[in-house]
């Protein structure tokens, strides 16, 4: 028996660990450092219909136990990803979750329709929560009605299950979660980054050219845990949790909060081997907790 296996819509995962979208490119760089087949899955960088050059630099800044980024969805566009990135990933025994972004419903639909036909794309992650682009992105993620409609539109064309990635920058994330479930989402991924800003000490101007950026890393973990805890109690679809995971204990925490699997973002920059390290450590953690299978942990923060 594989103590770490997780079955989710479209995804038979060897283990619940996957790099988060935008923190792992399309796998090529980290693929030089270790065998990507050890991963549960890979969430690739957001793909838009056309090539995107993203925001001006500086695009990152450090904050206490966190970082800000405003990459702005730079990516080679649907065609570039279908032809230049996904085929290379086929050599690995790992399901791909394609992060889909756009500025209007039609974009999302077109990208989703196409990219869900790629043989190794086992699920989509609908990015309605990117804080770093002027149009689309986060606006889809703050209005429950729009979020629901977009989910339904994408569901209608996708050949694979659809997960929706939620933004924490809302008054009530439960409302959005329920809306996307009603829209037909097969799962939820959460959380995307919080909005933040850092100023240059001398000039007082924002360091990031885009002014605001998305806050990620350990600083946001308590916010993410709280949101996974509450959302997992109001929806019946599984959650892939993320936000500040840096070690195997953090993974246990997200599962306890109610996530079924966990994505690792910023921590890849701190330690490029963090995903395989966590995967190795997890069985030891299960031993310590006297637990057979990792799924037993899911939601224990609010069960019984």
């Amino acid at each position: 028996m594989n103590r770490l296996s997780v079955d989710l819509p479209g995804l038979q995962l060897k283990n619940p660990i996957m790099p988060a979208s935008g923190c792992f490119g399309f796998g090529k760089e980290y693929g030089k450092l270790y065998d990507l087949s050890v991963l549960g899955a890979i969430m690739i960088k957001a793909t838009t219909l056309e090539t995107r050059l993203g925001n001006p630099t500086p695009r990152v800044a450090e904050t206490s136990s966190g970082m800000l980024n405003a990459i702005g969805l730079q990516n080679p566009g649907l065609e570039g990803v279908m032809e230049g990135e996904l085929p290379w990933l086929e050599q690995f025994d790992v399901p791909i979750i394609a992060n889909v972004a756009g500025t209007e419903t039609a974009d999302y639909v077109e990208v989703a329709k196409e990219i869900s036909t790629a043989p190794n794309v086992h699920a989509l992650e609908l990015n309605i929560s990117c804080p770093n682009v002027k149009e689309g992105g986060i606006t889809f993620g703050t209005d429950p009605k729009i979020a629901k409609e977009l989910t339904a539109a994408v569901k209608a064309v996708s050949k694979v299950p659809v997960y929706v990635k939620l933004s924490p920058n809302v008054t009530d994330i439960k409302e959005i979660a329920i809306a996307v479930e009603e829209g037909g989402a097969d799962g939820i991924t959460m959380i995307n980054t919080l909005l933040g800003m850092r100023l240059d000490e001398k000039t007082g101007k924002p360091i990031i050219a885009n002014k605001t950026g998305g806050l990620s890393g350990p600083a946001i973990k308590p916010v993410a845990i709280k949101m996974v805890h509450e959302v997992s109690q109001v929806v019946n679809i599984p959650i892939i949790g993320m936000g500040g995971v840096t070690n195997s204990q953090d993974v246990i925490d997200f599962l306890s909060a109610g996530a079924s699997a966990v994505a690792v973002g910023t921590a890849n920059f701190v330690n490029p081997f963090i995903c395989p390290t966590i995967i190795e450590e997890l069985p030891l953690k299960l031993d310590e907790l006297g637990i057979n299978h990792i799924s037993e942990l899911v939601g224990r923060s609010h069960r019984f």
Binding site: K32, V60, A61, P218, T266
Partner: protein, 258 residues
């Protein structure tokens, strides 16, 4: 190959005001392929400072299994790094990026190496390798003021060295471009590293000459995965954006829009 190494601090000393020289030993040394490559350093174990700091490899001693880095303790992270002592362990990712092409200058030819401030370090290993192969190196090194001048003797030992400071407290007074004007363009290749305005001026003044420039950019991953460190390219270049960490940090003159 890029590795994550727990390197041992062999020595650490302040060689100029807030400028530190640190020697590190570890198996990463064996992976270095060219001068101008850099390492990505975790300054301590705390997650408070999450991001690694990119620092150039200033000298390479394969026999001793050692590298030297030269850095300015300015912000939080580099200040923390400067508290490390001999015997401490430092988490280093590297070697990263593509360095200066030594092969672009032939033995017997002359190369101009132009550095500004904390851009000077990678030029040292470059000069060592060029002079070892028989290239005549001329060093033009600009600093703010005398108290932050470093490695003057070391460069002198390798070839003709011009020091110039903004306030005139060491060498002549002015900018590297003042020296460049005087020295003319009788060289085969130039190599440069320093602040953006300096690179800009150097590239303009040496238009038409073969040259290589090393760029800086704020980084996330350091390995090419996060798209944090991009630079715009000049028109006509095949890519629109290039990554300083994995495509650079050294690019041929004319590629990066500055």
């Amino acid at each position: 190959m890029i590795i994550q190494d727990k390197m041992i601090v062999k020595s650490q000393k302040e060689i100029a005001h807030n400028i530190f020289e640190m020697k590190l030993s570890g198996k990463l040394v064996g992976e270095i392929t060219s001068p101008g490559q850099f390492v990505h350093i975790r300054v301590n174990d705390s997650y408070e400072m999450l991001l690694r700091r990119p620092i150039s490899i200033a000298a390479l001693d394969t026999a001793a299994n050692e590298i030297t880095i030269l850095y300015r303790a300015e912000g939080q992270g580099t200040k923390s790094l400067s508290t490390k002592r001999e015997g401490d362990i430092v988490d280093v990712l590297g070697p990263l990026g593509n360095g200066f092409p030594v092969e672009e200058t032939e033995a017997g030819e002359t190369a101009f190496l132009i550095g500004g401030g904390i851009g000077v370090p990678p030029l040292y290993e470059l000069s060592k390798q060029l002079t070892a192969k028989g290239v005549t190196c001329v060093h033009i090194l600009g600093f703010q003021s005398e108290d932050v001048v470093f490695y003057k003797e070391e460069f002198n030992a390798l070839g003709e060295t011009h020091i110039i400071t903004v306030d005139g407290t060491a060498g002549s007074q002015g900018f590297v471009t003042n020296v460049m004007e005087k020295l003319g363009t009788d060289f085969s290749t130039y190599y440069s590293c320093g602040p953006m305005p300096m690179l800009n001026a150097v590239e303009k003044m040496y238009e038409g000459k073969k040259g290589f420039l090393s760029f800086e950019q704020r980084m996330g991953c350091g390995v090419g995965a996060c798209f944090a460190c991009v630079c715009e390219t000049t028109e006509g270049s095949e890519k629109n954006y290039i990554k300083v960490c994995s495509d650079g940090p050294v690019f041929p003159a004319g590629v990066v829009a500055i």
